[in-house]
């Protein structure tokens, strides 16, 4: 607390209250001239927070005497001291005698020169210094004395001049104008910071004084837990899918085979996506099995499916001329980290082909998944080797492109995205393929927000799905809309171990429909 000086009792707040009890308004410069302003402020704040006083802070600059000026104010200017010493000896003094009389060589050195110039002294016949003027005005001393006392001078020129002579410097001074507050009293009542059970029990709350709450600061930290922002967006997407009748697919399989990830999707074996540059292959375990049933309930016809896929690639089938290249089983049995969750959609559609609805045909279905996929990418601000794919599949009879576009309007509307545009695109397993664009107001351009299409008959008929069952598929990454929405520029700030925990803790709840 206050380090009170000058005979204070050590209780500065009390002193302030005492002073105020005698005077409505006090100035700290007058009442507490020698107390540090920081100490004073501490005491004032304590009283002000209890409304016992009110105060204003006065900032001003005042001239302060330098060491040399202090000497001048006390003893006179150098030239005046030389004149005075000489005026005491009519016969004058030698320089050495003068120095002895003044007691300071440097004062004599500077002072005699000035005194000569002012014609206060002269050289006598024998070379001694003698006084010339009968009386002098030591204006410098007078000025400094005034300034020392009043902290100012009526003629500002004087201060400017003394500053130039390096006798004065300006110093910032904080002082306070203090007045009584509404709860002024001489005694500081004990203030309670909180209402406690004890006070309720004893009734002390009725008489206690409570410290005012600081409404300008934040409340106490909650040490709250938090969900990851990407998972919060994932939750929103998942809700949208559930609202629209979609079943979640079992995407808990990171390792896939070339067959499910590519061949079954009618992606030819020489397709660039299958390059080592783009796909992670697995070295251990070495190779996959041919597709086969993995549980007793699975009655899938895997052998014929495998043959169908081979044939449609190699020679063509189902009205397709195929890619016409020698299809290699080994390539199909290579293990990969799935490059898309469409590998799972394919397996789901293959299972759907076996199901029988009320009319004996595979029933309409809606599937979705949101899960991690892997690409052997060079890492940069927008690419990681892993990201999340949001995928939806609708299988039904008599679907048309207009239906796919209408569905996309509804789906994206739920995320606050309107006015979609569809662009023809190419994808080996969908035909038609449509890129979905939306006008982004912030970026002032059309941005691609997803990919969609109808799966190719070569893919669906090989599974045994009826020719008139058509299947929409669409996909988008989870990271991209999240990055656009939360203005994250680097994907590494969103996914992976480099994500800032404070970002996770402070990211607001996600409401995709709010733009």
């Amino acid at each position: 607390m206050a380090n009170v000086q000058n005979g204070s009792t050590g209780d500065l707040p009390s002193e302030i209250l005492q002073a105020l009890s005698q005077k409505d308004t006090i100035l700290s410069t007058e009442t507490f001239p020698s107390i540090k302003s920081t100490d004073l402020k501490g005491a004032l704040d304590r009283l002000a927070s209890r409304s016992m006083i009110a105060y204003e802070t006065i900032d001003r600059e005042e001239p302060v005497l330098e060491a040399e000026a202090l000497q001048i104010a006390e003893n006179g200017s150098h030239e005046a001291r030389v004149w005075e010493a000489l005026s005491k000896k009519m016969e004058g003094l030698t320089v050495a005698e003068l120095e002895a009389a003044v007691g300071d060589k440097s004062v004599v050195k500077v002072g005699q020169g000035k005194a000569f110039k002012l014609k206060w002294i002269e050289k006598g016949k024998d070379g001694r210094l003698v006084k010339l003027a009968d009386s002098i005005d030591d204006t410098a001393r007078e000025h400094l004395q005034v300034i020392q006392k009043t902290k100012t001078y009526p003629d500002p020129k004087v201060i400017t001049d003394l500053k130039k002579r390096k006798l004065l410097k300006m110093q910032k001074v904080i002082s306070f104008k203090i007045q009584k507050g509404p709860k002024f009293a001489l005694e500081i009542a004990k203030e309670e910071t909180d209402l406690t059970a004890d006070m309720l029990a004893s009734g002390a709350w009725k008489t206690a004084t409570f410290k005012p709450y600081n409404f300008k600061s934040l409340g106490a930290d909650q040490n709250a837990g938090a969900l990851h922002p990407l998972n919060k967006v994932r939750h929103e997407f998942r809700q949208i899918f559930f609202e629209m009748g979609f079943e979640e697919m079992p995407t808990n399989k990171y390792v896939e085979t070339g067959f499910w990830n590519f061949d079954a999707l009618f992606v030819p074996q020489q397709h660039p996506a299958r390059d080592l540059q783009d796909t992670f292959y697995i070295s251990d375990p070495k190779t996959a099995d041919k597709p086969h049933a993995e549980d007793a309930n699975d009655k899938g016809e895997y052998e014929s499916y495998w043959k169908n896929v081979q044939e449609v690639h190699q020679k063509g089938k189902y009205g397709s001329i195929g890619y016409r290249y020698p299809w290699a089983e080994d390539e199909s049995l290579r293990l990969v980290l799935r490059t898309h969750t469409t590998a799972i959609s394919t397996a789901m559609l293959h299972k759907l082909a076996l199901k029988k609805g009320p009319d004996g045909r595979p029933p309409p279905a809606r599937y979705f998944s949101i899960d991690r996929v892997f690409r052997n990418e060079s890492v940069d601000a927008t690419h990681l080797a892993e990201f999340h794919q949001v995928e939806g599949v609708i299988a039904d009879y008599g679907l048309s492109l207009g239906g796919l576009m209408e569905f996309m309007e509804i789906f994206f509307h739920k995320m606050g995205i309107e006015d979609l545009r569809f662009k023809p695109a190419y994808n080996p397993y969908t035909e038609p393929s449509m890129e979905i664009f939306s006008f982004h107001k912030g970026l002032n351009k059309l941005v691609e927000i997803g990919n969609s299409g109808m799966f190719r008959p070569e893919m669906l008929e090989a599974m045994g799905l009826p020719k008139d069952m058509r299947v929409f598929g669409w996909g988008l990454s989870l990271e991209r809309p999240t990055m656009i929405k939360y203005k994250v520029n680097n994907i590494r700030e969103l996914l992976g171990h480099k994500v800032d925990l404070s970002f996770i803790e402070r990211n607001p709840a996600v409401r995709l429909e709010k733009t």
Partner: protein
Amino acid sequence: MPTISVDKAELYKALGQEYTTEGFETLCFEFGIELDEDTSNTERPIVNGKQEPAQLKIEIPANRYDMLCFEGIALMLNIFREKTPLPNYRLVTPKSGKLETITVHPDTMKVRPYVSGAILRNIKFTQENYDSFISLQDKLHQNLARNRTLVAIGTHDLDTIKGPFTYEALPPKDIKFKPLNQTKEMTGEEMMTFYEKDKHLGKFLNIIRDKPVYPVILDSKRTVCSMPPIINSDHSKITLDTRNVFIDITATDRTKLEIVNNIIVAMFSQYCAEPFTIEPVEVISKHNSESRQVPDISPRKATAEVDYINACCGLTETPERICSLLTKMCYSATPSNTDANIINVSVPPTRADVLHQCDIMEDVAIAYGFNNLPRTAPSKASTIAQPLMVNKLGDIVRMEAAMAGWSEVMPLILCSHDENFAWLNRKDDGSTAVRLANPKTAEYQIVRTSLLPGMLKTIRENKKHSVPIKVFEVSDVAFKEESLERKSRNERHFAAAFYSKTSGFEVVHGLLDRVLLMLKTAFLTHEEGLKGDEKLEFKGDAEGKGDGYWIEEIDEPTFFQGHAAAIWLRLGGKQARIGEFGILHPSVLEKFELRYPVSTLEINLEVFL
């Protein structure tokens, strides 16, 4: 997707119309290509004292090999805009009536079995179309030809060589010629060294380097024309003055061989004195029954069903109208005389991407305009929404952990082998982790088998955060599993880590208790539980004991001795160790560069399904 740069003024001239950038963008959008950049207002390089004219950089979808050059883009857009009909490509035999021949030797089977060719007569090159000709070959090499592995193209000034030609495969040391733009002759062997460091050609050497014989095209005087897929000879190189071009095409893929041939001749025969005429070549290849006349530029006859097209597009167009829409996409189509539901479609030689009537259907939709198609209800059937149970379970645990004051993290699934094993003082028994064959960095060597490395790395990257740091993750790890088709299985784990100046051992323990309580699992004191079996399998077991979990002290090098426990679960009379928790061993902390103690918890959630 390949991006093609074309001269903007030249393209608009070819289109017979000036476009604003936005206007051209819209045209591209409707057609299904993408204007990447218009360089009109950007700083362009100055070549030979002349600033490069404004370019349009256009992204072409991967299936449109016929649009990988200026000529193709201009032609396809003009057909789309109904300004030009589809050119009528014609094969013209020379007056002599005798075709040039390429005789194939059986040894080529050992290295590059297929060859094709064509001749463009009386061509007139300008600097622009010459550059475009070279650039198209580059683009085809890069894309369709998979960096020359599948197909390679060589072009020659026919007036410098003389047929009949042979396609042979010779030992590298027996091949000797002056490669394109070089001054001295080299053998095939020498070229492998000479081009080793070549930025452009170096990457193709591997295609044939280790073969006993290299493919080579020779003329009747045994002059080497090219050594595919590496380089042509300097002797027969084409120049601006070349009038007659001999094209050789070699391949390992028979289908793509002819696609490439068709594209090249279709694009550049327009510069022949008689536009769109091509002189065919006779390939004599008896040993593999590949003797034939090439190229075959006759359109492919296909049929498409009117009701299929209308149904997919949501239209009710007549066969005639569908045929006229298809003209815009460079087909010629006519309604069938015999079946009102069928249209006969001629697929031009340039459209090798058309495999099925679905491709024709898409082109009808594009010609109609995707955004003009009538909208219909998305689907008629009602389906039942259903979450995946393991995700539902995982979400319950995530919510409980967050409600208990822990923050969720999402590290990567791939990690280094050391992070997963050695750094955790764990041994790889070789039958646990899935290993990647071709990662670009050591960060991605295996699929994690534990959630701990990712969480510890997350803490390492967040050391500036105030302590305690309390993080958790619910996600999959993967294990090898030989009995499954994919030889691997995922397992859903829950893990948490506490990082502070004190270990937080009991905090992590408390989180375990809390989560298991929420999963309706009672805590059993150790005496109630049975002595643990190290196997991670449920075991049939003593009757009369209730379901629940208990913990048993373990001594494993991952953890600080005396401060780690295995978590055991008994459900339906079966019991298994489902995970462990403890204070990490200081040597583990050191590996992950962590200054304060860390307690972790990791359990398998799938037992609760």
